[in-house]
């Protein structure tokens, strides 16, 4: 048992007229140490047999106080911390943060920097989706995709490593642009990766997309309607799978996204299978974006003129990007000093996780696992 004391799960369940067979109504504690909760999520499940009557998420086991740290670090010093939130998509976090501060300072990164950012962020999106696919499939019981996706994700991490020296928490971008010029052969590597990974995506799909068991396990499981999704603030592939064609890369383009031609894949039913299809389609769209970006990457500086000491003017800004998990927003209040007066992160996983309860009611325990997987949460981001 964890030291946290809120065991009295406040589950607003319909009260029964009679005291019921107590062994049939079960409160199960899933996590924080559980193979399927993707980290240290703890879900208290109230079950009737195997049917879920209600859930309560207990989070915060990975709370590191990122927002408090931000108030005590300079803008530059805080940059690496954002990588530790969604550690699966560290590049996206860094992009959002750098762009938010740039916007606050009213500077703009040079075109070449923007292109490098797009390439790396999209590569990171593919890596994030691959990791999601592997773990999600493992949750549903298919072991093999995990190894396939990790094999291919490795190629992305190799590119990251060659570019900035780090594989996971990359800290690839700086406020005002990029720290590093692309290494010699970067474009070739990326192009090689593109031609390498496209058949691999087909490989995953061969294993899963028409697999009967996969269909049975994911179709009509964890359905969330578009209206519910919007009301619950769900974003990213989860929202798009419900049929809302909304992607910040199109709706409010940032970086260089307005220059690329890509589509927003959407689903129709809002079930786990649609979310799977949407993410697979997103991987392909990302490949398209990367291809365009790497072919059209302009020459020029990679760093805007920013002062050594970053001191944004007094004011506040909200900037958000389309992270692999959804809308990742930074709300920064500056008092004109070198440190943010207040920095708020709008974490997509945190808000998406809230939809879990709506999605799993009336389903079975096995579906809870599938739905947690399909939400694609990273506890580092949920707890911050």
């Amino acid at each position: 048992m964890s030291p946290r004391t809120n065991d009295s799960a406040n589950l607003d369940l319909e009260t029964r007229e009679k005291p019921y067979l107590d062994s049939n109504e079960l409160i199960i504690n899933m996590g924080p140490q559980h193979p399927a909760t993707h980290g240290v999520l703890r879900v208290i499940l109230k079950l009737d047999g195997e049917k879920v009557l209600g859930t309560e998420c207990v989070i915060g086991y990975l709370h590191r106080g990122v927002e408090k740290i931000a108030e005590n670090r300079t803008y530059t010093m805080f940059n690496p911390y954002v990588d530790r939130m969604d550690y699966v998509a560290a590049v996206s976090n860094g992009l959002g943060y750098c762009e938010a501060v740039e916007k606050l300072m009213n500077v703009e990164a040079p075109a070449r920097a923007k292109y490098i950012r797009v390439i790396l962020t999209e590569l990171n999106r593919i890596a994030s989706h691959q990791l999601w696919l592997g773990t999600h499939a493992l949750d549903i019981g298919a072991m093999t995709p995990l190894f396939y996706t990790f094999r291919d994700r490795e190629e992305i991490l190799k590119i990251f490593e060659k570019y900035c020296g780090a594989r996971l928490t990359t800290h690839a971008f700086r406020i005002g642009g990029c720290q590093y010029e692309t290494y010699a052969g970067f474009e070739k590597d990326v192009k090689n990766f593109l031609s390498f990974v496209a058949p691999k995506i087909d490989e995953y799909e061969t294993l899963l997309t028409t697999n009967r068991i996969w269909l049975e396990r994911t179709k009509n499981v964890g359905v969330i309607s578009a209206a519910d999704a919007i009301a619950l603030g769900v974003t990213g592939p989860v929202l798009r799978a419900s049929g809302v064609k909304w992607d910040l890369r199109k709706a409010q383009p940032y970086a260089a996204y307005s220059e690329f031609d890509f589509e927003i894949p959407i689903g129709t039913n809002g079930d786990t299978y649609d979310r799977y299809l949407v993410r697979m389609a997103e991987i392909r769209q990302s490949l398209r974006i990367i291809e365009q970006a790497v072919n059209g990457i302009p020459e020029g500086p990679i760093m805007a003129k920013v002062p050594k000491v970053i001191k944004p003017p007094v004011g506040e800004i909200y900037h958000s990007i389309e992270a692999p998990k959804g809308e990742l927003g930074y709300f920064i209040v500056s008092d004109g000093s070198t440190q943010p007066y207040r920095l708020r992160v709008r974490p997509p996983s945190f808000v998406n996780l809230q939809a879990l309860d709506v999605m799993v009611r009336g389903l079975l325990v096995a579906d809870v696992v599938a739905v947690i997987g399909t939400l694609d949460i990273v506890l580092g981001e949920v707890d911050r």
Binding site: L21, D22, S23, N24
Partner: protein, 187 residues
Amino acid sequence: MNPGMNSAFNSGMAPVATPFFFYMLSGLAIVGGLLVITRRNAVHSALALIVTLLAVAGLYLMLYAPFVAGVQIIVYAGGIMVLFLFVIMLVNIERSSKERRFNRMWPVGLAAACALMALFVSAFVKGRALFPDRMMSLPESSNTQQIATMLYGEAGRMGQYTFAFEIASLLLLVAILGAVIMTKKKI
């Protein structure tokens, strides 16, 4: 005793019904039965009952009734006892382990059972001569076929127990329906 029967027995299979196996199996059966009625924990009782059932199945084998032994294992040990364990788990309430094991009328019940036992003892002592010393042999290898013939008949002729067998299947159907209706929350 008919001598012809004896010779049939002797010329048949090798004797499996050695006294050692008989005493071992019947000892297991009786000890298991004792444990069934004395254990506080219902799961322990169930396990003891399984031991008894398997021992009785062994006794059936010794009595050249392999089909009945197979049915005993497959139906009792594999089916009914799993059902019992299932139900014990469903109604597993903690307090039952702290309460009295026996009901308030247990002396009366025990007395009645003892009277029954006395009856049995007297019957066996008095009627000892009724039972032949040697048992007849049954053809083991065609046991299943013969039972099947009695149950279903053969070649266009109805068996002796076909009707009873149909009734038994009806009974089972009714039991299934009854159990489903009884246990379902909402019908």
